[in-house]
């Protein structure tokens, strides 16, 4: 058997899904944040995940496989801030039908906390909202207080 076929077979044995989405190249430390942001902790689909897997790029990576779930781009792009190298494989009938990469969206709503302690969003129940003014390094401008949250100041809600 060819090496690639062998690898594929081995992978399928462990975690094959018939239809759905595989999110790969998630930094291991961000796995549970990704699960929360995508709302995977509240849906009823079958989900498998692995973490602390070897990755040349990330050191330790995580992978999530969601059966019968196909994300909209803006839905999946929410994770771009914490998993900028994430890749999606769309699986149909056990085959990779499409590959996607995440992109930082123009607006970030409801997932990031404004770093400014005097911002109204940190005092009342308000959905935070930022426009992305730079993607590398990431810089987010708060819709409300107009302050810029820099990449190293980003905290998820």
């Amino acid at each position: 058997m060819e090496k690639n076929d062998m690898k594929k077979k081995l992978k399928l044995k462990v975690s094959a899904i018939k239809d759905g989405t595989v999110i790969d190249h998630i930094p291991a430390k961000s796995l549970f944040e990704v699960i929360t942001i995508l709302g995977l902790d509240t849906i009823e689909n079958q989900i498998t995940f692995g973490t602390n897997l070897e990755s040349g790029k990330l050191g330790a990576k995580a992978i999530i496989k969601v059966s019968d779930k196909f994300f909209e781009n803006d839905e999946i792009n929410k994770i771009a801030l914490i998993a900028p190298h994430a890749k999606l494989n769309i699986i149909r009938d056990y085959e990779v039908a499409e590959k996607k990469i995440v992109e930082i969206p123009q607006k970030i709503t409801g997932i990031v906390k404004c770093f400014n302690p005097k911002c109204i969003t940190n005092h009342e129940k308000i959905t935070s909202c930022f426009s992305v003014i730079n993607t590398s390094p990431v810089a987010l401008k708060c819709r409300y207080c107009e302050k810029i949250t820099a990449e190293d100041e980003i905290k998820m809600l």
Binding site: C114, N116, K118, C119, I120, T121, H123, E124, K125, I126, C142, R143, Y144, C145, E146, K147, I148
Partner: protein, 302 residues
């Protein structure tokens, strides 16, 4: 769609000019009963006597009636009512809301919640757009133009919201030059300099200004606040460098005018008051005409 004034960048250059035109009209004839039969809510969640009196004078001159509170102790905020609920309630009662709030972004949020126009009378260290418009009106009145001006901004340029907003507003006009004079620890933030660089606008940074003051058309003074310094020795080093006195104005351009958002402490010596180049008290009066103009503009009264 209702119109609000939350951030100075909400308005276009055409709107700035429209406000200036209306302000000039109100200056000629301050008492115009455009708000007759209308109720204005004046919600000051933090005290600001100067801004509040200026707004209330403008509203009175427009024939409007005022409801509201002058400090948060007399509002339901002390009972734990959210800003959301206060604004929802008051926007049922009044035709327009003027709001001052200590938290940044409060005005933008209020505008989302309110069914009537909101005018931001200051939200923390964020925006104070009506101050900026009255500053612009003062510049226009004294210089006859908003183009080709050399603007000196002096003092706390790091935390001073008035200079940040004025920089943003003036950068839409032709060929401005900015001179920023501040101690190293209170320099103009990077983001605002980037804003100018993107537009190809010249700016210069200095720690002293005595030798270059002759180039200025406008000297916009702000307070260097002691509490902004983590090192008191640093404050002692710079505090006297930024005191403008009458002698310093001797070799300046005849058209130069000294502006200050007030209150001043000691950054403008009192001997400047008698100089024809001092303009800060007139600037405060211009605030009434400008606020009449802003109210009329957002309510489509003129």
């Amino acid at each position: 769609m209702k119109k609000d004034l939350i951030s100075i960048t909400d308005f276009s250059k055409e709107e700035y000019l429209r406000i200036m035109e209306l302000a000039a009209d109100f200056e000629k004839n301050p008492n115009q009963e455009l708000l007759k039969g209308k109720v204005v809510a004046s919600l000051f969640f933090e005290p600001s006597t100067r801004t509040r009196l200026s707004f209330e004078t403008a509203i009175n001159r427009l024939g409007g009636r005022i409801v509201g509170f002058a400090d948060p102790d007399s509002s339901s905020a002390t009972k734990g009512e959210t800003l959301h609920d206060t604004i929802r309630m008051v926007s049922n009662y009044a035709d327009i809301i003027v709001m001052r709030h200590p938290l940044e972004g409060a005005a933008r949020y209020a505008a989302e919640v309110s069914s009537v126009p909101i005018i931001n009378a200051g939200d923390g260290a964020n925006q104070h757009p009506t101050q900026t418009l009255l500053d612009m009106y003062s510049i226009l009145k004294t210089q006859g133009t908003l183009d080709d001006l050399n603007l000196f901004m002096v003092g706390d340029l790091k935390f001073g919201r008035t200079v940040h907003s004025l920089l943003q507003a003036m950068s839409v006009f032709e060929n401005p030059i900015f001179n920023f004079i501040a101690p190293e620890s209170l320099q103009m933030p990077r983001g605002f300099k980037h804003h100018l660089e993107e537009r190809g606008i010249r700016y210069f940074e200095h720690e002293e200004f005595t030798d270059i003051i002759s180039e200025a058309d406008i000297i916009y003074m702000t307070r260097v606040q002691k509490e902004r310094f983590s090192d008191p020795i640093e404050y002692e080093k710079v505090k006297d460098v930024y005191i403008l006195n009458k002698a310093m104005l001797e070799n300046t351009k005849p058209n130069v005018r000294v502006l200050h958002p007030l209150p001043r402490v000691n950054e403008i010596a009192t001997d400047v008051d008698s100089s024809e180049k001092a303009y800060y008290f007139e600037q405060a009066l211009n605030g009434v005409f400008t606020r009449e103009a802003i109210i009329s503009h957002v309510m489509n009264l003129k």
